[in-house]
């Protein structure tokens, strides 16, 4: 059949072409399409900046780094295919990706069994990491973030009663549970919670329901797009409790989407750099990002920048043997990340403190309130 010969030859040609170059390849899967596409694009910007900077500084012993980005569409099926390609065809030693748990969870065992290092970022699913090496999670732990959110509310804002509104996704379910537990443990009274479908734009009915509870605080777990609508609708409905969100709000595009409706909103995110090296790295990063892209980075850009730099520095130190890379990454102590200094636990979770920030007049304002993982 003619059609199959065409497919086969195209496949073969492409296969040959992709193995031709001698650059050092770092694999990456991102949601470039689908629901999380805007986060994927931000992440890509951060990652590419890291690659550019590394190559401008001479690469690794003269060889240039190359980033191979595959679309995982934020879905398991596509994510597995993307990871599979990077593992078996491109034969990369390390893959950065798994922003969405539905990708990270099926793709990481695949990488592990092929002895490819899998650096997941942002995914907060508790079952991602396990003993066995090769799988790392560069993300603030939801437990630490939940505690920070709850304690800030109670200690600093003197909150007494709270309600919650969260997306029916894995991060929504996990986060809301942890915040509630931490809030009640710290002495607060949790009155009610409601949910919304991922990607929803109309929260009015839920907001009206929650408003009736007369709580002084609203905890939300929503992406910045969803949150922007939420805040606007809260203004329209004339309900202005204290609002606390998660690190998904740590994205400058919320300023335009929400405008003044976001003023006074707090959110928990991974701590600002606490070591001098980390502080400098952050400042340099933000300047370079702004110069290159003309906009400010969001949290995904920061995480992916860090993850890419980790991979780059590992390769510079120990070469492209993935077992050596695995050992090197596992052993880092206070690596100067632009998100925060990075160290990993024995099963690959990053130890990142959480901090609370506030949105005011299209700016993020530090509150100085930080909680460390224990």
């Amino acid at each position: 059949m003619k059609l199959s010969t065409i497919f086969a030859s195209a496949f073969a040609i492409a296969l040959a072409a992709s193995q031709a170059s001698a650059d050092i390849k770092i694999g990456m899967t991102l949601p470039l399409t689908g629901y999380a596409a805007s986060y994927g694009e931000d992440a890509k910007r951060g990652a590419e900046l890291a690659i550019d900077q590394a190559n401008a500084a001479g690469g690794a012993k003269g060889e240039k780094f190359q980033l191979l980005v595959e679309d995982d569409a934020g879905a398991g099926k596509t994510g597995v295919a993307a990871t599979q390609k990077l593992v078996s065809i491109d034969k990369v030693p390390v893959i950065i990706g798994g922003m969405m748990s539905s990708v990270a969870l099926p793709a990481s065992p695949l990488a592990r069994s092929s002895k490819v290092v899998y650096l997941s970022t942002m995914s907060s699913h508790p079952e991602l990491t396990s003993p066995g090496g090769f799988i790392y999670r560069l993300a603030g732990s939801d437990a630490v973030i939940g505690v920070a959110e709850a304690q800030f509310m109670i200690e600093v804002l003197k909150s007494k009663t709270a309600v919650g509104l969260f997306a029916t996704t894995d991060y929504g379910t996990i986060n809301s549970k942890l915040v509630r537990e931490a809030y009640e443990k710290a002495g607060g009274k949790w009155l009610a919670a409601d949910q919304f479908k991922q990607g929803a734009t109309d929260f009015r009915t839920q907001l009206v329901k929650l408003k009736e509870q007369n709580a002084d605080t609203l905890f939300i777990v929503a992406t910045h797009k969803e949150a922007a609508q939420l805040f606007r609708q809260m203004v329209e409905l004339n309900w202005r409790p204290h609002v606390m969100g998660t690190s998904f709000l740590d994205d400058p595009s919320i300023f335009d989407l929400a405008g003044d409706a976001a003023n006074g909103v707090y959110f928990a995110t991974s701590a600002a750099p606490s070591t001098p090296e980390s502080k400098k790295a952050r400042a340099d990063f933000e300047a370079a990002f702004k110069t290159k892209y003309g906009k400010d980075p969001g949290i995904t850009a920061r995480y992916f920048f860090d993850a890419t730099r980790l991979a780059i520095d590992a390769i510079k130190a120990v070469g492209t043997d993935s077992a050596a890379i695995d050992k090197w990454i596992g052993a880092v102590k206070n690596y100067p990340g632009v998100t925060s200094p990075v160290s990993f636990t024995a099963i690959g979770d990053a130890i990142i403190p959480a901090t609370i920030k506030k949105i005011e007049n299209k700016k993020f304002v530090e509150t100085g309130f930080t909680r460390n993982p224990n």
Partner: protein, 288 residues
């Protein structure tokens, strides 16, 4: 190499889906766009039975498919009395409701957290660890599906189904209980869709609702149309092409962020072109 086995596995799973849907659309003339529901039910049943109850694979594969078939029976009996567009809509409704249940009935399905740690398959203590061995399993299932459906459609039962497709009033006139035939076809189709779900669950080792969105049903539907309604071989080719095409396009060298949209552009255009200029698909017999 592994990527080829991956494509073989995914193609095989979708072949089973397309073949079973073809039974409904191509032979019985029942337009179902809810096939994803049974795919998902089979996958979740497999996941729950193996992770929570430790059922061995050979038992679980039957149990999970049976669950899918049972649901197909319970829902099919009332729904199959609808005709044409209403039937299509009802089956679409099934897909939406199934997705809603997967997402929200957290006690059963763990909701958006998904079910992780679905064990690799062991057959007679031979663990199917390497990909090629799983690909063999999937292809064996495809062969079984094809054989079963082929026998079914070339039997007297199959002839009645075709008669129903052509003109169900006439079929009624010669004394056939058309609803019963439709239900049998529907249940069979659902069982095999469930089987595909089992194979997927054990391959990905993690399932969550996002694998069973309503778009999946449309995807399988397109495979049957593209391959040619009424042609089993066509359904298989349709499945293989529509699974492989997006993956092959990765290699064409488009920049990452437009590659996926380009895939959809081509995919959408393909559907319009095929239906307008070659409605019988690649190998089908249906005429417009």
């Amino acid at each position: 190499m592994d990527i080829v086995f991956h494509l073989v596995i995914m193609s095989g799973i979708y072949m089973i889906l397309a073949l079973s849907l073809n039974l409904l659309i191509g032979y019985a003339g029942l337009f179902s766009v809810g096939h994803g529901a049974f795919y998902g039910i089979g996958a979740y049943a497999a996941a729950i039975l193996s992770t929570r109850y430790g059922l061995p694979f050979w038992l679980e594969i039957f149990a999970a498919s049976a669950v899918a078939g049972l649901v197909g029976y319970v829902l099919g009996r009332p729904i199959l009395r609808l005709r044409g567009d209403h039937l299509a809509l009802a089956t679409f409704g099934l897909a939406v409701i199934a997705f809603s249940i997967f997402t929200n009935w957290s006690d059963l399905t763990r909701g958006p957290l998904g079910i992780r740690g679905i064990p690799k398959v062991t057959i007679f203590a031979f663990a199917l660890e390497p990909l090629w061995s799983y690909a063999v399993l999937v292809m064996a299932c495809v062969a079984i599906t094809l054989l079963f459906l082929w026998r079914m459609t070339h039997s007297p039962f199959g002839k009645v189904l075709e008669a129903i497709r052509e003109d169900d009033v006439a079929a009624l006139a010669i004394g056939k209980n058309i609803t019963r035939f439709k239900v049998v076809a529907f249940v069979t189709s659902s069982c095999f869709a469930g089987l595909a779900g089992v194979l997927y669950a054990h391959y990905a080792t993690y399932i969550d609702p996002s694998a069973f969105v309503t778009a999946e049903s449309f995807l399988v539907f397109s495979m049957v149309i593209f391959g040619g309604m009424g042609s089993n071989l066509g359904s298989m080719v349709g499945a293989a092409v529509l699974v492989s095409l997006p993956e092959l396009l990765r290699f064409v060298g488009l920049p990452g962020n437009i590659a996926a949209q380009m895939r959809d552009v081509i995919y959408g255009a393909l559907i319009v072109i095929v239906i307008n200029w070659r409605p019988q698909g690649l190998l089908g017999r249906a005429r417009l």
